[in-house]
């Protein structure tokens, strides 16, 4: 498993210095944003591809109704007429005429602080971008220029963040960013398609973006003192910040992600609180609404947080894995955040292999029953987990795990079957299996036998042929034994079913002797109709005369199979080329995703830091 070490390495690498050349007009922003080198295993790399970024969910109003019928179904499901004009309703300030103030650099040094504060206050005026985008154009421009100047000022000047600046700068951010998000503009319930619907962009973005960036630079400034700021950046601040993660605008979520990451890094006292609040958001998402736009971003931050956990892991963190991350697998919109989630899970297992058993058991519990694309995601994740699994841990879970794999091979959806059979081209997994073939052959082989010829999809035949060949090479003798036992067991199944019926009918006759039966007429009615035959596959089974596609010499099978195995391993369902709307696409392209920086600020001394305060 050479990947294991590598992966860690890459995440922890410090971002390389920004590419040379003069900084663009927005200046230092780029520094934070051109982060890590593209890393296929890192979720943040995924998020920077625009087609994966948009994730959105549905009106919270109707989500409440999903839970407990709070709002009657059929209450107006409003779609905005002009979809890309959706905006939060800020409390637009009453007095909006702004006077352009002199530039900070032109002010005398002793007057700069006061002018700085004046400008910060000026930028607390909120404008309307929604109802009337063309209103107050001149004043909006004044604010925009002022925000840009402020940002440049705190990045280029030293010693300007004095004690009196903290409340003002944080207030600037709070006033501009904290707001109640508007109703989601995308359709709800079954109509909702995370891969087709376009995100609604925030109309106030021209100001909001600079506000976020200003605040980020403020947090990152060398003079910034978390101890002074913690009076203002408190628990309530964090709660409000986290609420914004439900924003429909992927650009905003991206900046929020970086902002929260910085806060987590700098404010040790808030870490427990942040983790707890994120858990609450997830609980709500999992058990109540199933709607949230920012799950992927939150998981990305968590990925980085988990990376920094000290060993041995605290119980609190283990609980988080088993009670939050694992149940997140069952939400129907899993595809929106699966890469990030799988990354978090694997991180945990790399830290503490003893968690393997509960994690795998959990995954098996939430294994999708009818949702094939989701099943493929699970198989992807399981392979990642197997890649880092130690043989001792594998022994604990292998039986249940392989039963599930056998079931996947038998899936009528060829992508599921195909994905499961790709495990045979993973040498590490095969080595794990080969060490335990006594136990595992009897579990897996029947599935292979059954579909070696009967699966409707020809690709599967080739793959099964290969899998059987690998198993045969592993242990020819055992292979033959299992072959024989399989035939036997088919006959046994029939007998077992008969025996079940017999036992149940005896129980029923016992039940009928109980005088109470007359008191419970509707239970009585259920007697006798109980033993409908379960839909086992015994009815549809095909008993091939020989289970091995015996044409081991068959050229066509031989020549086709290697090709199949050469297929790329990344079998994630292709997302459609989102977004379709030209303007949306442009807006997202023109926005460059901020990368999470290296995990160093959060790294392993996290827990010691915690205990220190």
């Amino acid at each position: 498993m050479p990947r294991k070490g590598e992966k860690k390495e890459e995440i922890k690498t410090k971002p390389p210095p920004p590419a040379g050349g003069s900084p663009p007009p927005n200046g230092p922003k780029k520094e934070a944003i051109d982060g890590l080198p593209p890393n296929p295993h890192s979720p943040s790399a995924l998020a920077s591809q625009p087609q994966v970024v948009p994730r959105m969910h549905v009106t919270p109003a109707s989500s409440y109704s999903n839970v407990a019928g709070r709002i009657p179904v059929g209450s107006p499901s409003i779609r905005r007429d002009n979809r890309n004009q959706g905006s939060s309703h800020f409390n637009v300030s009453a007095k909006r005429d702004l006077q352009k103030l002199p530039l900070l650099k032109d002010a005398p040094p002793n007057g700069r602080e006061e002018l700085f504060i004046q400008k910060l206050r000026q930028c607390c005026v909120i404008f309307d971008f929604n109802m009337d985008p063309l209103s107050d154009l001149k004043d909006k421009e004044v604010k925009r220029a002022a925000l840009n100047e402020l940002m440049e000022y705190i990045t280029t000047q030293r010693g300007v963040i004095t004690d009196s600046i903290y409340p003002e700068a944080i207030q600037l951010f709070a006033v501009n960013a904290f707001r109640t998000l508007p109703p989601n503009s995308n359709p709800s319930g079954a109509e909702f398609d995370p891969e087709e619907d376009e995100p609604t962009l925030e109309t106030s973005w021209p100001h909001l973006q600079i506000v976020y960036e200003f605040f980020l630079h403020f947090l990152e400034a060398q003079d910034f003192q978390p101890n002074t700021a913690k009076k203002f950046i408190d628990q309530k601040f964090v709660v409000q910040l986290l609420e914004l993660f439900d924003s429909e605008d992927p650009r905003e979520r991206d900046l929020l992600k970086t902002t929260l990451h910085r806060i987590y890094g700098k404010f040790l006292g808030l870490r427990v609180h942040i983790r707890k609040q994120i858990s609450n958001i997830f609980y709500r998402f999992i058990y109540e609404t199933e709607r949230h736009n920012g799950v992927a971003e939150l998981l990305e931050i968590l990925g980085s947080i988990i990376n920094g956990f000290a060993l041995p892991l605290k119980d609190e963190h283990k609980t988080f894995l088993l009670r939050v991350l694992i149940p997140l697998h069952k939400v129907k919109s899993l595809s929106c955040y699966h890469p990030q989630l799988a990354y978090c899970v694997v991180q945990f297992l790399e830290k503490d292999p003893s968690l393997t058993e509960p994690v795998v058991t959990g995954l098996l519990k939430y294994w999708p029953k009818v949702h094939s694309p989701k099943e493929v995601m699970f198989l992807n994740e399981l392979e990642e987990i197997l890649d880092v699994m130690e043989p001792v841990e594998f022994n604990k879970v292998m039986q249940h795990l392989c039963t599930q794999i056998a079931r996947c091979i038998s899936s009528t959806h060829f992508q599921v079957s195909e994905r499961a059979l790709y495990y045979w081209s993973n040498d590490y997994i095969m080595s794990l299996v080969s060490e335990n073939c006594e136990v595992l052959f009897p579990i897996i082989l029947p599935a292979l036998y059954k579909h070696s010829k009967s699966h409707w999809n020809k690709t599967i035949h080739g793959l099964i042929y290969n899998a059987l060949k690998i198993f045969m090479d592993m242990n020819q003798k055992l292979f033959d034994e299992c072959n024989a036992k399989y035939k036997e067991s088919l006959e046994m199944q029939e007998k077992q079913h008969e025996r079940r019926l017999e036992v149940w009918s005896k129980i029923e006759s016992l039940a009928l002797q109980n005088p109470q039966i007359f008191k419970v007429p509707h239970f009585r009615a259920t007697l006798g109709v109980l033993n409908e035959r379960p839909p086992t596959d015994s009815q549809e089974r095909v008993v091939p005369e020989s289970f091995l596609p015996p044409d081991l010499t068959d050229k066509s099978a031989d020549s086709s199979s290697p090709d199949i195995l050469k297929k790329p391993r990344h079998l994630m369902r292709r997302k459609s080329g989102l977004p379709h709307d030209f303007e949306t696409a442009q807006a997202i392209h023109s926005y460059q995703a901020a990368e999470l920086p290296s995990a160093t600020p959060l790294s392993s001394n996290e827990d010691s830091n915690l205990s220190a305060q």
């Binding site: 409003i78 109640t180 309530k236 609450n280 029953k369 129980i507 016992l510 109980l530």
Partner: protein
């Protein structure tokens, strides 16, 4: 299967254990559904001492199986199987552990079952078993158990001793202030239910405190649930208490910074208004309602608009007119030209029903201009909503005031490119025709009705034939002969067989409402002639139509004109024509005999 079923040694629980070990979920599910059979086989004593402990201790299965188990245990007859009400408490342990699982549906089912099991508990057993269980759940470590606990208080509260009641209130108060929002939401959702079983003085003293906490929660999802409880609680309070305790909360919620809370207020406004009473509404709620009508969020405006009629009609009579005209009307005027079409359409669906409330003069002065604006709205849904509620206006001011604007709007909708819009307007034509009277109808709408008959969407043609029938029913057979039939029957010569079929479909329906004379002289010849058509579909429809006609005209005509044509059709080469003609023939012959 590990167990031989020799008569004496058959042990039902072992069978169950074995079955539950099976890989197939469906099989496990079936076994759990047969729990009653196993319990019967065991007898009540062993069910109590063996089966239930086994279920409590060992069950860790798919959520689906757990759900089925929770359902089984809550069955009203399962109590019999454990030995009757005095043993009902033995059902609590397995349900208690089901009430703590993660999956919401399982937990909810377990709570539902616990609530139904609670009914079988005697007072003593409630104290001895049920209340301690509630306390355990309410102080559980994991939020799931605390959420479940919230739903159990109200079912046993009334049966408890005062001191236990005190304990329960304390426990519930703790849940209202719980650390996790999930628990606070559950508590807020159950608050109203608990209030109803509580003593009035405790509602005022104890419960109001909890209510305040929840109504001021930092999470909007909690606050909005508190709004819901508002109506239930205020129905238990005196007028003074409502004014002092509830009204401020409603007003604050109507101004809440989260639109979801305001939406909830709008949505529940009628209930709130009802419990608060007309007098307090006048002083306190009219303003709040008006401000919701002006809300910045379209969802809230639409939800409030939907409540307009209920709100206005429940206002006290003595101030109704004034309040509507001075406070509500200005808002309505703005809504009529709202930027959001859903708001306009919500308004359009209720605005007409305001006219009986405000009376003739105010309708003409204030509402009529708005009707006219909305009738010209760019969105078809808005126009449609106005037209569909014409009736209530007609009663107050008559439709003539509107006909000037109404007709162009109808004509435009009738030609809308969306067939569903056309379909909707067709459904209102008989109503309009009645209100406009025959003359106006002839002049303006008759052509439209004929046009729909040759629409290129079948659903419209079909609706158009039904419409024609309804019109004839209203205006009479003679009118049909003069105004409708010539055009309908003329279509039988059309080159398009679909139009010829439409004639047949129309005749099919008109037969019911025209006099035999009209049928015989106008319709029958045309239908008979179509019997010579060269399209099979037309021919077998002729056979069907003739069957209906035969029942309405006199026997001689059947004999001399209808049966010969049917006979000819029965000899057709097309199997379908043959089939339907033969059927028709046998019916016709039966009539003649």
């Amino acid at each position: 299967m590990a167990h031989d079923g020799t008569e004496g040694s058959l042990y039902p629980i072992a069978v169950l254990i074995d079955e539950l070990r099976n890989d197939d979920v469906q099989l496990r599910l079936n076994s759990i559904r047969k729990l009653s059979t196993i319990a019967l086989a065991l007898g009540d004593e062993r069910t109590r001492s063996e089966l239930l402990p086994f279920l409590t201790d060992t069950l860790d299965d798919d959520d689906e199986v757990l759900w089925a188990l929770a359902e089984q245990l809550g069955d009203k007859d399962f109590v019999v199987l454990v030995g009757g009400p005095e043993y009902a408490h033995t059902l609590l342990p397995p349900l208690e552990s089901l009430a703590t699982v993660e999956e919401t549906v399982v937990r909810d089912k377990a709570v539902e079952s616990l609530r139904s099991v609670a009914e079988h508990h005697s007072k003593a057993h409630v104290e001895e078993y049920f209340v301690p269980m509630i306390k355990r759940l309410a102080t559980g470590e994991w939020f799931t158990s605390r959420t479940s606990a919230c739903g159990l208080f109200s079912v046993v509260y009334a049966n408890c001793t005062p001191s236990t009641k005190q304990d329960l209130r304390t426990a519930f108060r703790a849940l209202c202030g719980d650390d996790t929002p999930m628990v606070r939401r559950a508590a807020a959702a159950k608050l109203g239910e608990l209030a109803k079983v509580m003593e009035p003085e405790n509602v005022k003293q104890d419960l109001m405190g909890m209510f305040h906490t929840l109504a001021n929660d930092e999470q909007d999802s909690v606050r909005l649930l508190a709004v819901e409880a508002c109506a239930a609680i205020s129905s238990l309070l005196s007028k003074e208490d409502i004014e002092q305790l509830i009204i401020p909360i409603i007003n604050a919620a109507a101004k809440d910074k989260s639109w979801r809370v305001r939406y909830m207020v709008a949505d529940k406004f009628s209930e709130l208004q009802k419990t608060v009473g007309p007098e307090l509404t006048k002083i306190n709620l009219v303003y709040a309602f008006a401000s919701l009508l002006k809300d910045p969020e379209a969802e809230v405006r639409a939800a409030t608009s939907n409540r307009l009629k209920d709100f206005c009609s429940s206002l006290g009579e003595e101030y109704r007119q004034e309040a509507i005209l001075t406070q509500i009307m200005p808002c309505i005027q703005q809504l009529a030209t709202d930027t959001n079409q859903h708001v306009k359409s919500a308004l359009a669906s209720v605005i007409m029903s305001l006219s009986p409330i405000v009376g003739k003069e105010s309708t003409i002065e204030h509402l009529l201009p708005l009707f006219l604006i909305q009738l010209k709205d760019e969105c078809p849904e808005v126009r449609l909503n106005i037209i569909s509620s014409l009736e209530s206006v007609n009663k107050v001011i008559g439709i003539s005031q509107l006909s000037q604007s109404l007709l162009p709007a109808i004509v435009e909708l009738a030609e809308d490119t969306k067939w569903r819009v056309r379909l909707a307007i067709i459904e209102y034509i008989p109503l309009l025709a009645e209100q406009l009277g025959v003359e106006v109808f002839e002049e303006k709408l008759n052509n439209l009705c004929m046009q729909w008959l040759i629409d290129n969407v079948f659903a419209i043609r079909e609706a158009a034939t039904v419409n024609v029938r309804n019109l004839v029913e209203k205006f009479g057979s003679d009118w049909a002969r003069v105004s409708i039939l010539p055009k309908v029957l003329n279509m039988s010569q059309d080159s398009n067989y679909l139009h010829r079929m439409t004639t047949l479909f129309a005749v099919n329906l008109l037969v019911d409402v025209c006099t035999p004379d009209v049928i015989r002289t106008s319709m029958l010849p045309v239908v008979l002639k179509l019997g010579q058509d060269n399209v099979a579909n037309v021919k077998f429809n002729v056979a069907k139509t003739l069957t209906k006609i035969a029942k309405r005209v006199d026997v001689s005509a059947v004999k001399s004109e209808i049966i010969p044509v049917m006979e000819k059709l029965a000899a057709d080469t097309d199997p379908d024509v043959k089939y339907f003609a033969t059927e028709a023939l046998s019916e016709a012959r039966a009539l003649v005999k």
